[in-house]
């Protein structure tokens, strides 16, 4: 599903080279629910950006769903993000001017799908997160938990190979956080592969596998029963 081999990332700040990842090897199989934990500066975000095809590794090999994405162009990566990856962000990242439904539709717009089918699928995704009666609300008219559920619907819309959640509960109260994590667990039971980034042990507990990262290296990889 996801195979990382010797992934390194070096940032150049002027003449200084700052290493962020120092050779990461990782395999995430389909249907896994996997949490990545690490303090800030550990290289956690860099790793997420690379796995999320938002950024490229300096060296190493990355195979996603049998496709080698390590040396793809920007436009090819955009297509991979569009079809293979669903993002859920800490700050929801909904576009404020659009209705919830239109936000959910957006990945399909970039996939070039026609309006009618797009709308039907977006409504189905909204139903899946229990917000079918909020479809025409703007994000500002929704609560934090509802917004995050819209974001999850958007991430699910193109049936991605992998669902990415970057601190998805970071802006939510604990009760809502539990609700959202419940949705992720349910999605995982239905077969979704989920990669969760968090620094909260409580949240990471929902995952079956927890990977710890520090100083650009995986330091611990535990699978719970």
């Amino acid at each position: 599903m996801i195979t990382l081999q010797g992934i390194t990332k070096v940032y150049r700040l002027g003449k200084i080279e700052v290493p962020a990842l120092n050779g990461v090897d990782l395999v995430v199989k389909a249907h896994e629910f996997c949490a990545i934990m690490g303090p800030s500066g550990s290289g956690k975000s860099t790793l997420m950006n690379i796995i999320g095809c938002l950024d490229r590794a300096t060296s190493g090999r990355y195979v996603l769903d049998d496709i080698d994405v390590s040396s793809m162009s920007d436009n090819e990566l955009a297509a991979v993000r569009n079809r293979k990856i669903g993002f859920v962000f800490q700050t929801f990242n909904l576009l404020p001017r659009m209705t919830a439904l239109r936000n959910v539709e957006l990945p399909l717009v970039y996939a070039g799908m026609g309006g009618r089918e797009r709308r039907a699928r977006a409504l189905a995704a909204m139903k899946q997160v229990g917000l079918e009666n909020r479809a025409l609300h703007k994000p500002a008219e929704l609560s934090g938990g509802q917004r995050q559920r819209v974001a999850i619907a958007r991430a699910l819309i193109n049936s991605p190979a992998i669902l990415f959640a970057d601190e998805p509960t970071g802006n939510l109260d604990s009760r809502t956080s539990e609700e959202i994590m419940g949705i992720f667990e349910e999605l995982n039971r239905q077969g979704a592969t989920i990669l969760l980034v968090t620094h909260e042990a409580d949240i990471a507990r929902h995952a079956r596998r927890v990977i710890h990262i520090r100083d650009g290296l995986i330091t611990q990889d535990e699978v719970r029963k």
Partner: protein
């Protein structure tokens, strides 16, 4: 993302920023409107002048000394009174008048009024279509009998006599001689080709004015200019050649150039056309500067928009937008602003044109050329000034864009 999706996205953004978009458009609006109004006014004005010249003067020929042939003005040779008689005898079926211009106070019983006095022949009224309101114009017998008669301009008559009708038959004083008033001219309507008021101009015979004109510097009485008008336009070139041939034969050339210029109004039409073309082009270019300013305004606001929406661009990229999707979105936005601004500018320009045509009494013509030009320029400006901000947006790194608050 296809085009209609792009338009939908851009339209929603524009709707969201109504005031900003309106202010941005204003530059385009005024620019396009100004260009259209200026161009259309030029076209209409030219049309009015041309039809004016063609209506009354395309069969006209002017003769006067060819100043361009002489290095010094005092060397200029002028026609002599006997040439008038010869030309009169030479040309049949042609209206002909000499024109001698003088000016000075015209007096009546101690009242004085400054006036222009033209020495002409009776054909003058026919050539220039100038009717009298009282009495009569000059007659051939006035010329033959060397009568000192005068037809007053309307303003002159009003200034000297309370009632212009009372002027006829009275004697007035000009340059120390008495002239009998035989008529008063009608008020002259101003037209596109001739905006001057002619109501301070009085007409006497060439011969009568010749006798009071100050000829020092000329070496005796001369004929300074002659107007001909052919009745059939087909005769124009023939008469022109005859007049020029006669004068060349009688006076010879100077440095290979004819001593007299025999010009047709046709040439004036061409010259007028050319001058109007140049003036219109220059003013249009000046108006075009406002378009440039408008375009820069659009580029500026688009750059602000891109900066403001960096996060949005990041989100879109994360969801799978390619560079060209982002590029298209911002280009379409700039284009819509330009097209709406340009469209309103066209409305403004057309309205201004209509107002100008109504005020000046010129024939209104829907300015198709300026309209299509205005539309084309709007699109060009949208593309030109929109491309840089759009490229900037398209090239944003999704990681950087996403993390920006």
């Amino acid at each position: 993302m296809n085009l209609s999706e792009g338009f939908r996205e851009s339209w929603e953004t524009i709707r969201h920023n109504k005031l900003r978009t309106f202010l941005t458009m204003l530059g385009m609006n005024i620019g396009v409107g100004a260009v259209i109004a200026v161009m259309a006014t030029g076209l209409m004005g030219r049309g009015a002048i041309m039809s004016g010249i063609e209506g009354m003067g395309s069969s006209l020929i002017w003769v006067r000394a060819n100043r361009a042939a002489y290095e010094r003005e005092q060397d200029m040779v002028q026609m002599r009174p006997e040439d008038l008689q010869t030309l009169r005898g030479l040309l049949n079926g042609v209206w002909l008048t000499p024109l001698l211009r003088d000016q000075g106070p015209v007096g009546y019983r101690g009242y004085q009024e400054l006036a222009a006095v033209y020495g002409v022949w009776p054909d003058y009224a026919l050539i220039w279509q100038r009717p009298v309101s009282e009495g009569r114009f000059l007659r051939p017998e006035d010329v033959e009998r060397k009568q000192r008669v005068i037809v007053l301009g309307l303003n002159t008559a009003k200034a000297l006599f309370a009632n212009p009708a009372a002027a006829v038959g009275q004697e007035i004083l000009f340059k120390g001689k008495t002239f009998t008033v035989v008529g008063v001219m009608q008020k002259k309507e101003r037209s596109a080709i001739d905006d001057r008021s002619d109501d301070d101009t009085c007409y006497t015979t060439h011969e009568a004015l010749e006798s009071v004109f100050d000829w020092s510097g000329y070496g005796g009485p001369r004929v300074l200019s002659i107007h001909f008008k052919v009745r059939e336009l087909a005769d124009l070139d023939y008469v022109t050649a005859q007049v020029a041939g006669y004068l060349d034969h009688r006076y010879g050339k100077v440095q290979g150039l004819p001593r007299f210029s025999v010009r047709q109004a046709e040439e004036n039409i061409r010259t007028t056309n050319k001058i109007f073309g140049v003036i219109t082009t220059v003013i249009t270019l000046i108006a075009g500067i406002s378009l440039l300013v408008g375009g820069i305004g659009i580029m500026n606001i688009m750059l602000v928009t891109v900066t403001e929406r960096t996060q949005e661009i990041g989100i879109r990229k994360a969801l799978g937008a390619r560079r060209r999707d982002i590029l298209a979105q911002f280009m379409i936005e700039a284009l819509i602003i330009c097209l709406i601004g340009g469209g309103l500018g066209i409305v403004l320009g057309v309205a201004l044109t209509a107002v100008i045509s109504a005020l000046r009494g010129w024939a209104y013509l829907l300015p198709w050329l300026p309209i299509s030009l205005g539309l084309g320029v709007s699109i060009a400006i949208g593309l030109f000034f929109g491309i840089y901000p759009a490229l900037k947006a398209a090239r944003l790194d999704p990681v950087v864009a996403l993390t920006k608050e």
